[in-house]
């Protein structure tokens, strides 16, 4: 087990700044998920940690020691690739044993370690097969087995589940979570799937355009996003964003005009002034539809999911709002309803800086 420190890390590809000053502290035994849209630099960061890629500035420390000059094999890391990257001409056994044989383990030692890992991943019957004779999920397990068998100090995953179909993906997600409980090794996991990030992570690092947007525990990020990007990136369906204008400053908040209504919201009066534009973010599950004073809107589409439903509304002022409700939907397409929201559950962002505005508690 190792703790990782990434300090002010900079990476350039020619003129292009791929990472501009990344700072992340990863405690030993922690599972940290790097999440962000494609091109945000998360895979590059992972490859830098693995040693496959160098960097142009800053520090990378394993347990406080610089690892810049160390090649991958001396860092005690293992990397699971998105494409599995199994050796196609080697059997499952040989795939898992390859790394060990490079480290001069004895034959008996290799055999016992591989069979132990194979047992834990339910690969025992497949040891003599070639990768092409395996299903996608089995290949992924072999790739994970190849990583575990070397007992690395740091486990790196590069979008390991994105090639699997939905059912298999949630199953493997569970297996990775179990794996982390068993091994309690430091893990860094890259994904663009926010559901994987939310469910697996001890700590999420949201990245965008080569910078860290926010670091924190999954629910903290979900409940208290520091900016618009984090707010809209986490959560599915996406958070609704409505634009409003500050009309009055009051001691208990400010009055905000948006989507055809005027509402007292708990934004600190010191952060805004009259006439400022504010973005109101509300999660689909925090909006209710029906009786009460709310945003008047027309039902456009209803999606039934069985256990819950999504209603896509279009407000009179033309803004679209998604509402998530339990059970089946009573709403009919074409109806005009009222979307009711609780100001204390909304998120507020400065429309210019896109940073979260301070809220009165």
């Amino acid at each position: 087990m190792v703790n990782l420190s990434i300090r002010n890390l900079v990476k350039q590809f020619g003129q292009y700044q791929a990472l501009n000053g990344i700072n992340i502290e990863i405690d030993h035994g922690e599972l940290v998920v790097l999440v962000g849209p494609s091109g945000c630099g998360k895979s590059t960061l992972l490859r830098i940690i693995s040693g496959l890629e160098g960097f142009d500035g800053g520090e990378l420390l394993f347990d406080g020691a610089q690892v810049v000059t160390k090649p991958p094999k001396e860092r005690g890391i293992a990397l699971v690739f998105q494409s599995y990257a199994l050796y196609p001409h080697m059997t499952v056994f040989q795939n898992m044993a390859f790394g060990l044989s490079n480290s001069r383990f004895s034959k008996a030692d290799i055999r016992s370690r591989v069979s132990k890992v194979a047992r834990s991943l339910a690969l025992e019957g497949l040891l003599d097969r070639l990768p092409k004779q395996l299903s996608g999920g089995q290949r992924q397990r072999v790739a994970i087995g190849r990583a575990i068998v070397r007992e690395p100090k740091v486990f790196l995953f590069d979008e390991p589940l994105s090639n699997l179909d939905a059912a298999l993906r949630s199953q493997m997600r569970l297996e990775i979570a179990k794996l982390h409980q068993q091994l309690s090794t430091t893990m860094v996991y890259v994904t663009h799937d926010q559901a994987e990030a939310m469910t697996l992570a001890d700590k999420i690092v949201v990245m965008n355009k080569g910078s860290v947007e926010q670091i924190g525990r999954p629910l903290d990020l979900y409940k208290k996003p520091v900016n618009l990007f984090v707010a809209t990136f986490l959560g599915s369906p996406r958070m609704n964003i409505l634009e409003g204008v500050v009309s009055e400053l009051r001691p208990d908040g400010v009055t905000l005009d948006f989507a055809g209504i005027s509402k007292l919201v708990p934004i600190s009066g010191e952060a805004v002034k009259q006439g400022d534009r504010v973005l109101v973010g509300l999660r689909p599950e925090d909006v209710t539809v029906g009786e009460g004073v709310g945003i008047s809107a027309k039902v456009e589409i209803v999606e039934e999911m069985g256990d819950h439903h999504l209603t896509y509304l279009s407000s009179i002022s033309g803004q679209s709002i998604v509402v998530k409700g339990a059970g089946t939907s009573p709403n009919v397409v074409g109806d005009t309803l009222s979307a009711v929201l609780d100001p204390s559950r909304c998120h507020y962002f400065d429309s210019r800086t896109e940073l979260a505005l301070p809220v009165l508690s």
């Binding site: 494409s83 390859f98 092409k132």
Partner: protein, 277 residues
């Protein structure tokens, strides 16, 4: 079947037949002629009329033709082996390692194979002489390498580039150095590519004529193409067509056998199952 499809398939059949006829007819004519004897050979006939092994017997009797075949086998095999030993590491460097001047080297490699053989003949002669290889099979191995190494290196570079980068990176993570990556990971994956380039190199060396004619003077050390060209009749004016045809057919067989053996290897894609799937 619609009328259109009908026309299409007939057209396809005709085209394929023409190509087959064009490429196979000379060889067919050689086989037919090789089984004729005496003056029959000068009468044009498209179908076998007589059948005799006389020509085949005489080529082995009147000159060291068996020895020539062995020579060719030695030269061609050695050329293939040495070419591969040189071309695989070269292809690794040119295909997978980034360094300044890589493109220039690649173009130079390609450029050397554009020189006509005759242009390098005198220089090659100097080289052969200084190595003390004149009139030996070694001379032919060294000179043929000039023909085979550039294109084997070039082709393997292309194949090497197509191998997924992740597999190489997985091996690096697994702690394998460059030599181990080449031998344990790339070589098995390149096997089909090596088989096909190897056969091309073998054919090139097997058919090579100019170096064979120039650098070897004694009958016993000659390779097959030169030996066939120098087959003489009973007198100066007689051209021993029958013998030449028999000899040509004989030396084509090893190539055909080789292609049949490796055909399946060449076609099969070994990388299946490496990524995704």
């Amino acid at each position: 079947m619609t009328r259109r499809n009908w026309v299409k398939s007939i057209l396809r059949l005709v085209t394929v037949s023409l190509i087959v006829l064009y490429s196979a007819f000379p060889f067919y004519y050689a086989i037919v002629s090789s089984f004729r004897s005496g003056t029959d050979i000068y009468k044009p006939a498209y179908f076998p009329t007589t059948f005799s092994f006389q020509n085949y017997v005489s080529i082995f009797k009147n000159q060291p033709f068996a020895q020539n075949i062995v020579n060719s086998l030695i030269v061609a095999s050695a050329v293939v082996i040495v070419s591969m030993v040189l071309a695989v590491p070269a292809a690794y460097a040119l295909g997978r390692v980034k360094f300044r001047g890589r493109r220039l080297i690649l173009l130079t490699v390609l450029g050397t194979s554009m020189f006509p053989q005759i242009a390098v003949l005198s220089g090659m002669y100097q080289l052969i002489q200084s190595l003390g290889l004149y009139n030996s099979l070694g001379a032919l191995i060294v000179s043929n390498l000039m023909l085979t190494v550039p294109f084997t290196a070039w082709m393997l570079t292309i194949f090497m580039r197509e191998l997924p980068k992740e597999i190489e990176e997985a091996a690096i993570i697994d702690g394998a150095g460059p030599v181990k990556i080449i031998l344990r990971v790339f070589l098995p994956l390149l096997w089909p590519a090596m088989a096909s380039t190897g056969i091309l190199a073998f054919i090139a060396a097997w058919n090579e004529f100019l170096f064979g004619l120039t650098f070897v003077v004694s009958n016993e050390n000659r390779t097959v193409p030169v030996a066939i060209a120098l087959i003489t009749g009973t007198n100066q004016r007689e051209l021993p067509w029958g013998n030449i045809m028999a000899a040509s057919v004989t030396v084509t067989l090893p190539i055909i056998i080789l292609v049949f053996i490796f055909q399946r290897r060449i076609v099969s894609g070994l990388t299946a199952g490496a990524i995704k799937g």
